[in-house]
C-alpha cells in the first residue's frame, strides 16, 4: 500500500505528535507514505471565503502532484480531507469550473485530470488495509478502556462530496475502537462541531461547544476521547482548560489523535507517540495499559 501523503499544516507545526505517530503506525503496518512536500495548505475552508477560485486552484495543484505519481492522496486531517474532497467534487461535477481552474493552472504548466482520490487514514485502514488484517497486528489490546469517538464535521458532511459512511449514524471510529479491544462510549455531540473554525473569532461560543461535548463524554464515563482531526484536537485538548471554565465543569479528559490510539494497540512505545506534548495529561490512560 502506497499513498501520496498530505499530512496538512497543523500536523507539521503545532501537532507534531500526530505527524510522528502516523509515521510510526505506517511503518509498523507497512504502509508507504510518499509525502507531497511541495503541496500548499488546503485553505481549511478559509481561503475559499477570501477567493473561491484560488481555493480551487491551490487544491487542484496538489491533486496534480498525486496524479503525476499515480497515487491516491492520504491525509490525517479531517479538515484537509473535507476541503480537498469538496474541491474535487466541485471540479468533477462542474466542467466550467474545472476549465476555469485549469486555465489558472496552465499558467504554471499544470493540469488537473480528475484521476486522484482523497482518503482519510481512518478510511484507508478500513477499506484498503482491512480491519481483519489490522486485528492480526494488535499486540496490546486497549482492554479496560472506554473511548469516546469524536467524528467532528469534515469526515461526515456534506455527504454529496464523499460518502464513506452514513453521516447521520457513523460507525467507523466505533468499529476501530472495538477492534482495538476497547469499549466505545456514545454521547451527545460526537458528530457535532468542536468549535475550532470560530476559535479565533467567537471564542466564547467555541469554548462552550467544546466544553459541552467534552463534559458529555466525561459524564458518560469515557477514559479519553479520540479524534481524526488535529484542528479538533486543538479545540478539545489545547483549549480544554478554558472550555472547562466556560461550562463550569472540571473535565480533565485526555484527547488522542487517531494514530496515537492505534499505535498503542500495535505496541508502539508511548514515548514514540508523543503523548508528552498534550496539554491534558495521558498518564491515567497509560497507567490502565
Amino acid at each position: 500500500m502506497k499513498y501520496a501523503y498530505y499530512p496538512g499544516c497543523v500536523a507539521k507545526s503545532s501537532a507534531h505528535e500526530l505527524y510522528n505517530s502516523t509515521a510510526a503506525v505506517a511503518e509498523r503496518l507497512g504502509i508507504e507514505l510518499v509525502e507531497l512536500t511541495a503541496a500548499s495548505c488546503c485553505g481549511a475552508g478559509v481561503i475559499n471565503e477570501g477567493d473561491p477560485l484560488l481555493s480551487l486552484a491551490l487544491n487542484a495543484r496538489t491533486f496534480t502532484m498525486a496524479e503525476d505519481m499515480g497515487l491516491d492522496i492520504l491525509t490525517i486531517c479531517s479538515t484537509c480531507q473535507g476541503v480537498m474532497s469538496q474541491v474535487k467534487w466541485q471540479l468533477d461535477t462542474d466542467m466550467k469550473l474545472q476549465a476555469r481552474t485549469n486555465e489558472a493552472l496552465a499558467k504554471v504548466r499544470l493540469e488537473y485530470k480528475g484521476k486522484v482520490k482523497i482518503k482519510h487514514l481512518l478510511w484507508t485502514l478500513i477499506e484498503d488495509y482491512g480491519l481483519s488484517k489490522l486485528k492480526q497486528q494488535i499486540v496490546k489490546p486497549l482492554e479496560g478502556l472506554k473511548i469516546a469517538p469524536f467524528y467532528g464535521c469534515y469526515l461526515l458532511r456534506p455527504a454529496e462530496a464523499w460518502q464513506f459512511e452514513d453521516h447521520n449514524k457513523p460507525t467507523s471510529l466505533e468499529q476501530l475502537i472495538t477492534l482495538l479491544g476497547a469499549k466505545p462510549v456514545h454521547y451527545e455531540g460526537e458528530t457535532k462541531c468542536c468549535g475550532f473554525p470560530i476559535l479565533f473569532v467567537q471564542r466564547e461560543t467555541a469554548f462552550e461547544m467544546a466544553g459541552t461535548y467534552l463534559n458529555n463524554a466525561r459524564q458518560n464515563s469515557a477514559d479519553f476521547m479520540v479524534t481524526p482531526c488535529p484542528l479538533c484536537h486543538i479545540s478539545l485538548d489545547t483549549y480544554q482548560a478554558k472550555s472547562s471554565r466556560k461550562v463550569k465543569a472540571s473535565i480533565d479528559l485526555p484527547v488522542m489523535h487517531l494514530p496515537q490510539m492505534i499505535g498503542l494497540a500495535l505496541g508502539i512505545k508511548p514515548e514514540k507517540l508523543g503523548f508528552s506534548k498534550h496539554m491534558i495529561s495521558m498518564e491515567k490512560v497509560l497507567r490502565v495499559l
Binding site: 503545532s14 511541495a38 481561503i47 477560485l53 447521520n168 462541531c193 473569532v201 467567537q202 496539554m279
Partner: protein
C-alpha cells in the same frame, strides 16, 4: 405488503399539566411506505388524540411538519419510518431545537421568524426598472443561483440543527443568511451586494461550517454555501471585523510560505486579545507545542504565488 411493529418514543409536554417534559412510548404497525407523519397521525387517531404536532401539505412543500427524528431535524412527511427503524432500531421524535416547545412537538417559531425579518427578506425594487413595460426576466444562470436559494420553505430544520445558534443567540442563523444571499444574487434588487453591510453584527462570522444546515435542508438550499459567498463579498468590501481579518491573515500566510503559519494567523486575528492567552502560551511552550514563527517556504512556492496573482486577475475579468 409486509407489516411489522415499530417503537416510537415521543416527546410529550403540556405546560397546563406537566411540570417538565417526558417521553411516551407508542407501538405502531408499519409498512415499508409509511412516513413518520403517517405514523404520528395513526397514533393521534388510534392511540392518543392529545398528541400535538403541526402538519399541512404532506408533500414536503409547506414545511410545517419539521421535527427532530432520531436527533436530526427533518420533515416528518418526507421521512420513511422503515429507514429510521433500520438505522436506529426505534424512532425518537422530539420538537425542533433552538426554539422553545409550546406543546408536544409544536415549537414557538417566533425567534426563527424574527431572525428572518432581520435580513429584510423582500425584493428592494430597483426604480430604474419600474418604467419598463417588459418583464424583468432573469437569465438561466441567474435563475440557477437565486432559484435554488428561493426554494427555501422556511421549515426551520437548519435553524434547529445549527450548533452556533444554540450557543450564540446573536447569530441570525442559516435560513436568514441564505435568504439575504438570495436577494444579493437577484439583479432586480437595488440593494444587491450592499446587503452585506450590517451582516457582521448579525453574526456573519459565527458560522462554523459544520454543514448540518446543508445536510438537513429538505430542499437542498445549502445555506452554508450561501454564507461562504456572503463572507467573500464582505471580505472584498473591506470588512474590518475579526472574521475578515482571520481570512486576510490566512491568505497572507499561504501566499508567503505556501502553508499555514499558525503563529501569525493567531497574532494577526487576535491582536491585543492574545494577552488573554498568555498563561496558555507559556504552558504550550513548556510542552514544545508552540508553532514556529517563521516556517520555511514549501518547494515550488513561486507556483503558489502565481496562482494568487492569477486568481486575483481572473476575479476582475
Amino acid at each position: 405488503m409486509e407489516t411489522k411493529e415499530a417503537v416510537f418514543r415521543v416527546f410529550r409536554y403540556n405546560p397546563e399539566n406537566d411540570e417538565k417534559p417526558h417521553h411516551q412510548t407508542f407501538n405502531v404497525k408499519i409498512d415499508n411506505r409509511m412516513t413518520i407523519l403517517d405514523a404520528l397521525e395513526n397514533i393521534k387517531h388510534e392511540q392518543d388524540a392529545s398528541l400535538t404536532f403541526r402538519r399541512s401539505c404532506r408533500s414536503g412543500i409547506c414545511g410545517s411538519c419539521a421535527m427532530k427524528i432520531n436527533r436530526l431535524s427533518k420533515l416528518a412527511c418526507k421521512t420513511r419510518v422503515i429507514t429510521e427503524v433500520e438505522k436506529h432500531g426505534e424512532v425518537l421524535i422530539e420538537p425542533m431545537e433552538n426554539m422553545p416547545p409550546i406543546r408536544d412537538l409544536v415549537v414557538d417559531m417566533g425567534e426563527f421568524w424574527r431572525e428572518i425579518d432581520r435580513g429584510t427578506p423582500w425584493l428592494a425594487w430597483d426604480e430604474k426598472l419600474s418604467d419598463s413595460m417588459k418583464e424583468n426576466l432573469l437569465s438561466n444562470e441567474q435563475q440557477q443561483i437565486s432559484g435554488k436559494l428561493a426554494d427555501c420553505i422556511m421549515c426551520g430544520c437548519c435553524f434547529s440543527d445549527c450548533v452556533s445558534r444554540t450557543y450564540d443567540r446573536n447569530f441570525n442563523g442559516p435560513a436568514s443568511l441564505a435568504k439575504i444571499y438570495r436577494f444579493v444574487c437577484d439583479p432586480r434588487d437595488k440593494e444587491g451586494a450592499k446587503r452585506v453591510h450590517g451582516l457582521v453584527e448579525m453574526g456573519l462570522w459565527s458560522c462554523t461550517h459544520c454543514y448540518f444546515c446543508w445536510s438537513q435542508c429538505p430542499r437542498d438550499v445549502r445555506p452554508v454555501a450561501a454564507i461562504s459567498e456572503l463572507r467573500t463579498l464582505s471580505y472584498n468590501t473591506l470588512d474590518p471585523s475579526q472574521g475578515a481579518r482571520h481570512v486576510s491573515a490566512f491568505m497572507d500566510s499561504v501566499r508567503g510560505s505556501g502553508i499555514l503559519n499558525e503563529s501569525t494567523l493567531y497574532l494577526k486575528t487576535m491582536r491585543w486579545n492574545v494577552v488573554r492567552d498568555a498563561g496558555l502560551i507559556l504552558r504550550m511552550a513548556a510542552k514544545g507545542r508552540t508553532p514556529p514563527l517563521l516556517p520555511r517556504a514549501i518547494p515550488r512556492i513561486e507556483e503558489v504565488r502565481s496562482l494568487f496573482r492569477l486568481a486575483e486577475e481572473m476575479k476582475h475579468k
